[in-house]
Symmetry: C2
Subunit: 193 residues, 2 copies
DNA sequence: CGATTTTTTGAATCATATCAACGTACGTGG
DNA sequence: CCACGTACGTTGATATGATTCAAAAAATCG
C-alpha cells in the first residue's frame, strides 16, 4: 500500500526506515471509483492525495458549465486543491477519478505535524513543490507563448503515459482548447507526416 | 538591507533573531539597473533572488523574438528560473530589471545549506512554494478557462501595484495577449462604464 | 527639446470556438 | 449475448476573439 509513496520519497530525500514508518501513520488510504469525486467545488479541500494507483483530474467549471482541466495525476503524483487546502476556503475546483484509484490521504493537521516533526518530510515536500512549481511555470509559458498545435506536440512528448490512458477530449481541456480543435490538429499532423 | 526579507520570513515562520542573523550570511546583495539582465537564456540560473526594492520580470522569447512575461517580481517577491536553478541546465528564460532594483541573492549551495541547517528556513521556503504553486495553478486555470478581458479584470484586481508601475504592453505580455488587444480591451471597458 | 518608448486606431487575416450532425466504441442491464 | 444508452471522436459551416501589419498619437526620458 505504501510502496509507491516510499519509493517516491526515497528517490527525493534520504529518509530512514524509522522515519518512513512513523510518517506512514499520518496517512489514510482510500479507494475511489471511476467518476467518483474526491473533492467538489465549494467544499473545503481537507487532504493532500498521493496517487498509489489509478488516475485523477482536477478541473474548474465556468459559468457555462465548461470544464477546464488544471491537472492530471497518475500513480506517483500528488493532487489537491492547494488554494483551498492551505487557506481553508471553499475550493474553486473539482477533483474526480478518471479510473478506479487507490490514494493515500494526509489531512492538513497531519501534514503540518509531519513537516514539523520529521525534517526529511518537510524537505521532501519542499523539493516536490520546487519541481511542481517549475513545471507549472513552464506550462504557463507554453499557454501564453505557443500555438495549440505546439502545446499538443509538447504534451504528447512530455506525458506519453497520459496520452495512452486519458480520452482526447480531456487532453484538449488540459491544453485549453476544444475537443473539436484537438481533433482537427491531430488530423493536420497526420497529414503532415 | 535585510529588513524586507526579515519581515517576509517573520510573517511566514517563527524565525529567531539568531537564526536570521545566521541566515543573512548566506545572501549577497546586488544592485541592478533598469533594463539590466539578471539572467539571460542559455546561461545557468545560479541564484534565487529576493527583491528588496524595485521590479523585475522573467520572460521567454520564441523563434519570432516575441517576449512572453512569465512572472513579475516587485519588492517582497522572489524571482528566478527555477527549472535552471534546480537542474543546472541552461535557462530557457530571461530575467531583467523593469526598474532600478536591489536584490538579495542566494546561490544554490547556500540555499541547500540554509535549508538543511536551519529548519525554519526550509519551512519558510516550503510555505513560500506552497503559495506560489497555488497561485500558478490559478493562473493556469485562468489562461485555459477565461477570455482575455476577464483575465485583465482579474489582474488589475489582484495586482493593482503592478498596474500602476508596469507599462501596459508588459501586462499584455503577462496576460498572453498583444499590446494592441489589451488597448482595445481597455477601450471597450471604458465605454462599458 | 529631440529621441525613444508606449499606446492607440484601422483594416485584413488567422486561430480557435461554436453549433450541429453523424459515426463509432463501449459497457450495462435485460 | 444482444440492444440500447451514453461517451467519445470526427467533420463541416460559420462566427468570434485575438493577431498582424501599418501608422499615427501620446507619453516618457535623457
Amino acid at each position: 500500500m505504501f510502496t509507491r509513496l516510499k519509493k517516491h520519497m526515497q528517490e527525493r530525500v534520504n529518509i530512514t526506515e524509522e522515519e518512513f514508518t512513523l510518517a506512514k501513520t499520518y496517512f489514510v488510504s482510500k479507494k475511489i471509483r471511476k467518476r467518483q469525486y474526491l473533492l467538489q467545488e465549494r467544499d473545503v479541500c481537507k487532504s493532500l492525495a498521493f496517487v498509489s494507483n489509478g488516475a485523477l483530474r482536477c478541473y474548474s467549471t465556468n459559468d457555462k458549465a465548461e470544464e477546464h482541466i488544471i491537472q492530471f495525476a497518475l500513480e506517483g503524483w500528488w493532487i489537491s486543491d492547494l488554494q483551498s487546502f492551505l487557506t481553508g476556503n471553499p475550493a474553486a475546483n473539482n477533483i474526480d477519478a478518471i479510473e478506479d484509484s487507490e490514494l493515500l490521504l494526509i489531512e492538513k493537521k497531519s501534514y503540518e505535524i509531519l513537516c514539523n516533526t520529521i525534517p526529511r518530510c518537510e524537505q521532501y515536500f519542499r523539493i516536490l513543490l520546487e519541481k511542481t512549481n517549475s513545471a507549472s511555470l513552464r506550462r504557463i509559458s507554453d499557454l501564453i507563448g505557443t500555438l495549440a498545435e505546439d502545446r499538443y506536440l509538447k504534451f504528447i512528448d512530455t506525458y506519453p503515459e497520459i496520452v495512452q490512458r486519458i480520452p482526447q477530449n480531456q487532453i484538449a481541456s488540459y491544453l485549453g482548447i476544444t475537443p473539436q480543435s484537438l481533433s482537427r490538429i491531430r488530423k493536420e499532423l497526420s497529414i503532415k507526416r
